[in-house]
Symmetry: D2
Amino acid sequence: MPNPAPRVLIWNEFRHERRDETVKAHYPQGIHEALAAPLRAAGLTVDTATLDEPEHGLPEERLNAADTLVWWGHRAHAEVPDAVAERVKRRVTEHGLGLVALHSSHFSKPFVALMGTGCYLKHRVAAEKERLWVVDPGHPVAAGISDRIELDREEMYGEPFDVPPPDDLVFVSWFQGGEVFRSGCGWRRGLGRVFYFRPGHETYPTYHHPQIQRVILNAVRWAARPEGLEAPVRGRRDTPLEPLPPRS
Amino acid sequence: MPNPAPRVLIWNEFRHERRDETVKAHYPQGIHEALAAPLRAAGLTVDTATLDEPEHGLPEERLNAADTLVWWGHRAHAEVPDAVAERVKRRVTEHGLGLVALHSSHFSKPFVALMGTGCYLKHRVAAEKERLWVVDPGHPVAAGISDRIELDREEMYGEPFDVPPPDDLVFVSWFQGGEVFRSGCGWRRGLGRVFYFRPGHETYPTYHHPQIQRVILNAVRWAARPEGLEAPVRGRRDTPLEPLPPRS
Amino acid sequence: MPNPAPRVLIWNEFRHERRDETVKAHYPQGIHEALAAPLRAAGLTVDTATLDEPEHGLPEERLNAADTLVWWGHRAHAEVPDAVAERVKRRVTEHGLGLVALHSSHFSKPFVALMGTGCYLKHRVAAEKERLWVVDPGHPVAAGISDRIELDREEMYGEPFDVPPPDDLVFVSWFQGGEVFRSGCGWRRGLGRVFYFRPGHETYPTYHHPQIQRVILNAVRWAARPEGLEAPVRGRRDTPLEPLPPRS
Amino acid sequence: MPNPAPRVLIWNEFRHERRDETVKAHYPQGIHEALAAPLRAAGLTVDTATLDEPEHGLPEERLNAADTLVWWGHRAHAEVPDAVAERVKRRVTEHGLGLVALHSSHFSKPFVALMGTGCYLKHRVAAEKERLWVVDPGHPVAAGISDRIELDREEMYGEPFDVPPPDDLVFVSWFQGGEVFRSGCGWRRGLGRVFYFRPGHETYPTYHHPQIQRVILNAVRWAARPEGLEAPVRGRRDTPLEPLPPRS
């Protein structure tokens, strides 16, 4: 059953917003607060965390209290310790935490570990137009979006995107400079779900766009740990369920 | 977004229950009523329809009022007119109706048309044990089920099951006589979702089993038309979105 | 094991080339001969068939002699009898025939029947640029293609493409007018494989492009019935493989 | 295009065979030699490597010379350095090396890293019967196998198998003690392919079974780096392919 009121934890690197005037102008309270506002308005319980907080913002109890984790990182991926990335990965696969990885988080440690590939792509910052087309209009993450979203200025990401074939492909982007990109992709990983959503370069006001906010809300709900989740039984099971015939 | 209160239409052939004393003993009001009771108890709005009603129980307005259609048929598949099957198929692909096909409905016309394959399988009625294993414990259709469901007596269905590779594989059955079967499978078809759930031979009391009822409730919710569904734009689009350069 | 020397049957509607001077100029011997030449040059055994031949070019023995069927149709889809489409579908699902559907064949009867959906899309003829990006560079159908194919003038096809999520997504197109499209898609259907490849509007010389020819060669090989294919056992299997305990 | 003569590297832990008399009796030259013989008989070029060789048997030039790597490990997974596992992973995703992971290699470091999940399962050693059913009879890895393979005595592996949903599901096992398992699974990872094949507990003669040998041969061919593979272009692409309009 879907989880009607998922608890969200938004993790943000929160470096660009403090150092770059352009970014600060778009996101004066940080990208995490821009992401949090529409989720709060939709009635979700939202917590935020940033890289420079104690334990990199991800102490175990904080992570454990979340049904979906939203992640935005860019230049400081390497500062997230491997142990923290491993904690996130296990929380996804073993406890059903949802992960919504945004934009340059394709290279974040937790996302890369959950994919099993290098997550490479092409990129270009040229303030060009991006148009996200819905390719799976019945998918819950596309709810409320007509056939496309137009972004006046964004960074370009181009194929091939070095990820496993997505279990769910919801959006494909067209870029003015000539490229395409699988911009909205879902994967199942153990008990959890991962959604990657491409837009959100820090020098553009993308996260203030109502349709981008709607997709992120949809993705948070889609990825959230479902109600009624049962922990699977694993490991040695020495007693057969059925009697085995005697062996000579 | 998930649909919190899907409207369900349960369609049942309703022939065996009126002619065979064993079946009647298990399902005195018909299989459709046995399926309806736990869905009603869960708060869903449930309508039922049977083959011998006017328009084979599926007039357009009745179908259009449903978010998920549950289907049980066996010996009278051929009596469902092709036009009715086509109506169901289009309702799924073009309007996002969910279809939950039960047991011998693998050969029903709407299911076969939505699969694009022959839907063949092996089968044997020998009152043998079936054990349904959860293979995707994080899937919403497995919510509330521990690692397996045990059915004391069921018909055997064996692989290969001639369907396209499922987009979601949730249950795999073990049969006492030596076979296995992909018993719980989901597919996306256009705007809609299809779930096939194997158990439910009419001579056994399978649909009175609480865990089987739980899976069907989960499947009905999973397949239901999502809220906020947008009808996609299609057909001729003569005006480019971007200016095309002049051609000589 | 792959089939080293698949036998190919190319079926073409062959109407446009006889009636329209532009099309005739590009394909004086018909699109089927333009498709056949590079396959023959690669050492494959190639037969061709057209709609106006006896039995619509698809008598049973001719179909049965093929490992892969290539299909090009456009305005005369309705003239292919349902029985012929059903014959092709069963040959795919039950005997492992490969089907490579080109361009407007997305609406051909065999392709639609194998998909189980409506196969709708957006379209525009505006002589605009198409750029096909490889999104799965390790896929056999992309062999020999660098990261993209450029076509100077083509018809536009736009998303959402109303097909089941492809089992293999190999190419995504960028169009100058602003759209994207999943241009190279594979599906498994029973014993057979289906590949859809978008380019090839009749008023442009697309099938003379060496990289387009290479993709079609790759797709023919990928879809071909594999050597060593075993027909599956189906239907009633009354004798259990394992002894069943006595029942009271 | 398929690779007609893939070069195979078989890596084996090779500890059990030297220490346990039962294992030595089945595999006096080591499991790697038992695996190599039928591949050599089929005309493939085969090299073998073991854990206690220099550089753990996997120096870079040896790995680079292979199109498919077959892996068997059990108790000494931890002795494979992380750097070696990373080298294998990158060889798969960035260069198209195929990986065929056998039996307890579900917990080997390269396989776990490529999956992105924990790869847990249930297990029991009780010399019970395993029956592997073909669920995708048109798949190249099932070529030459009728509808099932019977193994008189094997270890049991049970669901849920904590791996991402396989891109290809070819075999599902039935176990006498009551469990099922997805025994033959394929995944795409970057340029490469991974196949997991369950049978092969060291205390049983499984790798001498002709049908098991056939499946491994099929899997090696299926996973092999395809001919004509092109390295994808990645990273910064500062120059747009299409002219961008001037920005104010």
